[in-house]
Symmetry: C2
Subunit: 295 residues, 2 copies
């Protein structure tokens, strides 16, 4: 926590679960003198105002970005290029632009070319979220104890990176700096693939006969329920993740499918010993996660 | 809850997470005059005694079953046939035999042929569990608010079914009666397939290069962690589930893989609209689960 202001004017482009949670932190700790919120829909802007998160609202990204010390792009990553292009004309040297997208290399490729000389783009990804989207579902403790990964390209201004780091530390996060491509590879297996699989199994159930589906819902506590929670996340945000981290996700998906085929074969041919050996390995990984304090 | 005894002597064959949790309920509510515990290993029997769950311990299933009003088979399902065979010589008309296996038709096929005339076999499955196995990890609220499915074959004694139902109601469960094959089909998709997938993705991670694996563990909170919890369950128990519900699991696995191939194709070819549509369906299922009070 800091007891002082970190920014004069902050601009949020997008004010969903992540953006509104960070805005709540800023309000709580008085990190910003003034918060400007930009969203596409009147309803969203109204909610941001009703929640007391906006001193000014606009539908124009450039109007929001103008004169902001820091511009936070908190929209599905597919929109980031267009937003960067829209705000570029008003950006001035010294301003910081950052984002919260779950894929980093594609965001850098889309945003960096639009950044004027002297504007500091610091790509970021808070590893936090819930299945509830929208500004009304944010909360100021969302980032507490969670990792935020920053992936500044070589040559990014150290002072700007430090400022973004401090902002996230105020939100209670631990901040790491990683190479963007490496981030995307690690997240493909920790986040993107598990979520894809959750979406997929819920889809498989959606296609079942109605009578069976009712019972699946009734007895969902046996494992399936956990998947539905993951798969209840924002479809547009996740669509963009898969479209923009395609290579890493396809590689991990291929490995997963090969492994699943092996399990399928062992089940078909009754290879109990092989199944048991494969299942035993899982406990080791779980133990490592518990040891790492992430359980 | 009842305030009286339900049984004189209860025999637990196997005293792991499920058996010990039910034994705790019996102790708490005084449901049984005497509890006999049978397990294969000295260490397990010692734990059952240390936990105050056993009035008598033995390694011989027949000794445990002799004179018990009810015999609870709480072992991995692959052992059930041999246990039924071992206890058959001492079973007398009026005794109840039940089990807690996650697959029901295979257990009926393995156990029923050994049951002497007049002995009531009532197959059961409490839809409850945690990733921690062993008698020391049981607790008396494990079954509260959870479903227990009984799958008595046609002609099973109504009084015996009612008694097993009452026992589970004392543990706080809601009891349903289903056809065994239908149970196995529903559980294949609600429980067996999700768990298999969790084992599988954790296995995929286990094969990653060590440096990446460390980061996967560090950043596991982004989705992967939920899978490791599911995949930390008892390998032997789950091996037996897959070996004994093979047909239903393979059918569901086939559907899942087809659906996953479609998603994979959509990612490869950048079909954003199709991805978004598929992801949107998941929210509907989640909403149904919330409406059903299972979330």
């Amino acid at each position: 926590m800091t007891d002082g202001k970190l920014f004069n004017t902050v601009a949020f482009i997008g004010i969903g679960l992540i953006g509104s949670s960070l805005a709540r932190v800023m309000r709580r700790d008085g990190l910003a003198e003034r918060i400007v919120v930009c969203a596409r829909r009147d309803e969203t802007l109204q909610k941001a105002q009703d929640l007391g998160l906006a001193d000014h609202v606009t539908k124009d990204p450039a109007e929001a970005a103008d004169c902001a010390d820091i511009v936070l792009i908190c929209t599905p990553i597919g929109t980031n290029g267009a937003i960067a292009q829209a705000i570029a004309p008003v950006l001035k040297p010294g301003q910081i632009v950052t984002d919260v997208g779950s894929v980093k290399q594609a965001v850098i490729d889309a945003v960096s070319p639009h950044m004027p000389e002297g504007v500091h783009f610091v790509p970021g990804h808070p590893l936090a979220g819930t299945e509830n989207s929208g500004p009304e579902n944010g909360f100021d403790t969302l980032f507490e104890g969670r990792w935020v990964v920053l992936t500044p390209p070589d040559g990014t201004d150290d002072g700007a990176v430090a400022k973004v780091k401090t902002m996230w530390e105020c939100a209670g996060s631990n901040v790491d700096v990683l190479d963007a491509a490496h981030h995307d590879w690690v997240l493909a297996i920790t986040s993107h693939l598990p979520t894809l699989i959750a979406f997929n199994i819920v889809g498989t159930v959606a296609d079942l006969e109605t009578s069976t589906k009712q019972e699946v819902i009734k007895y969902s506590a046996t494992g399936f329920r956990d998947f539905t929670r993951i798969a209840a996340q924002d479809p547009v945000m996740w669509r963009d993740v898969y479209l923009h981290n395609r290579e890493a996700v396809l590689e991990m998906l291929q490995r997963f499918s090969e492994d699943l085929s092996r399990l399928q074969r062992s089940i078909r041919w009754g290879e109990g010993e092989e199944l048991e050996d494969l299942f035993k390995r899982s406990r080791e990984i779980r133990r490592n996660i518990i040891d790492a304090g992430q359980a």
